[in-house]
């Protein structure tokens, strides 16, 4: 339930450097003093649920295909870029507060999840990522050493629709309802 603010080391540091450079322009025009927006944006939260976790990341104006979500072990990573707002040529800006630029979010999950069952969608500018616990960790316990046949027998027959399930970085994402 706590709001994770951790930044991954290594790759994260590189991303930060890249962001610092690309963010220079914003800084010059006073949009992001002290790069503050990188900590503020995007706001996010990890909620603990009975059957796993759910992450909420606020990305107003971005579509599902404009953010990348990946999971490796307990590390959930969300990257994307919010384009800088461009007013019409004849416009005079009165306020420029909305954050823009690249962002990288690294959330350390409290426990491992079923990577193949992770699903994400964007709804009203909020990225929602469902992170189910591995099946064995849910509800009733499963005998250690149960063979595949008996485990399969326990599964409800009408399971989630089958789809291409890749095992690592890329997830079979669900897209949210189209926004008109």
């Amino acid at each position: 339930m706590s709001e994770e603010k951790k930044t991954a080391s290594g790759r994260g540091a590189l991303a930060e450097l890249k962001q610092a450079v690309t963010g220079l322009f914003d800084q010059v025009v006073g949009l992001a003093p002290d790069f503050g927006f990188r900590r503020e944006f995007p706001k996010h939260e990890l909620q603990v649920e009975d059957d796993g976790y759910q992450a909420f990341v606020e990305i107003p104006g971005l579509r599902r295909d404009e953010v990348e979500v990946s999971i490796s072990g307990r590390a959930l990573s969300i990257t994307g870029e919010r384009p800088r707002f461009r007013p019409p040529a004849d416009a005079r800006m009165i306020r420029s507060e909305r954050p823009s630029g690249e962002f990288t979010l690294a959330i350390r999950l409290p426990a491992e999840v079923d990577a193949a069952a992770v699903a994400a969608r964007v709804r009203d500018g909020v990225l929602e990522i469902k992170l189910p616990k591995p099946r064995a960790g849910r509800g009733r316990s499963v005998d250690v050493g149960a063979d595949e046949a008996s485990r399969a027998a326990e599964e409800p027959s009408s399971h989630e629709r089958p789809g291409p399930k890749e095992d690592s970085a890329r997830m079979p994402w669900e897209d949210g309802p189209a926004e008109s």
Binding site: E3, P60, G61
Partner: protein, 129 residues
Amino acid sequence: MGSKDDLSDNQDPRESLGVERDARVRRRNYGRPAVDIYSTDVEMVVLADMPGVQKSDLDVTLEKDELVIEGRVAGREESESALPWGYHRRFRLRTNFDRDRIRAGIRGGVLRVVLPKAVGERSQQVPVD
């Protein structure tokens, strides 16, 4: 920015006067949305980040010289979310707008309010010799 601005933030402390008790309770954990605002010859446009707000939970009102934007994020209060439960912000307008033609819409959590300027407010091109 200065007196020439078409609007200013309205942080009048009397803001909750006249507001029903229920409405005030509902505003707990509301945030102040970040905005981009620009002005052209013919209109002023307000863009506000209000992620999670659906059209049905959005309120945009213009009363006298005050523009109020408010939106609730469904489900946040119920889940005791640490993210904003909604957004609220008020602006004082310094320009006359064509009230009948003001329009607002929200898409992907970004509110857009278009305020067409009243004819008399449009700046005139002055020929320079």
